[in-house]
Symmetry: C2
Amino acid sequence: MKIGELSERSGLSRDTIRLYEKNGLIASSASKSATNNYREYGEDVLLQLQFVGSARDVGISIADLRELMKAFFDSGDPSEAEKVMVAKVAELKVRIAQIENVISFLDAAIGKVRSGLDGL
Amino acid sequence: MKIGELSERSGLSRDTIRLYEKNGLIASSASKSATNNYREYGEDVLLQLQFVGSARDVGISIADLRELMKAFFDSGDPSEAEKVMVAKVAELKVRIAQIENVISFLDAAIGKVRSGLDGL
DNA sequence: AAAAACAATAGACCATGGTCCATGGTTTGG
DNA sequence: CCAAACCATGGACCATGGTCTATTGTTTTT
């Protein structure tokens, strides 16, 4: 498919898709084919892009994502690839813990406000 | 305490602290006192700053944080304050779910790599 | 074949969140 | 008293991640 359809289906702008491609997060295939130099994407790229989108939403940087995608797709060394991904999972779990921490803080604050409401 | 000590104790740079103060995340107290115009902070600000630091780490924007801090400290309307905080907690829970989603994705990828390793 | 829709590229532009720097005033310790 | 250490301010600067624009080329559609 061409970038327009991919954009449509992934929910990412054409510009963003091109940016991601330029940064090595995805790859277009047969653009070199012939007449035009339009990017051509397979269905698989849509999946990749959905992952990338969620990951970006969650704050994973483009640089990290490049590393991850590269690990998964281009890595000659699978054990190295695994290492990268496992590390990222660990990082994300830490992040969840941090968020839970912030939530506790807020819950406490909410409790305080509520008791203030009830109390006086 | 003065900004240097607060910086020391909070782990945030002086510049960052000034930035946060300028953006209404914290407030310095008695600077208006007399001779100098040095910022003066109470112990409470250290706590606030620790919260702000964690929240920033977790990706909460300065703008959102201003709203939260304002809700908690300056709000005339406690029920409104509560609303803001509850909303943020909900948002954070969504974020956790998103991260868990990304983790699942990565776990699957790791599984794939591993089976590739084992299989061949 | 001509208009409308789509694509490419490069570069400008923007917001966010910090850091760094220059200048100048204040404190503090020796 | 005087140097070192600290503080203030404003503006420059930086990275990241995206969007927008202009220009030009390719398809499609009628």
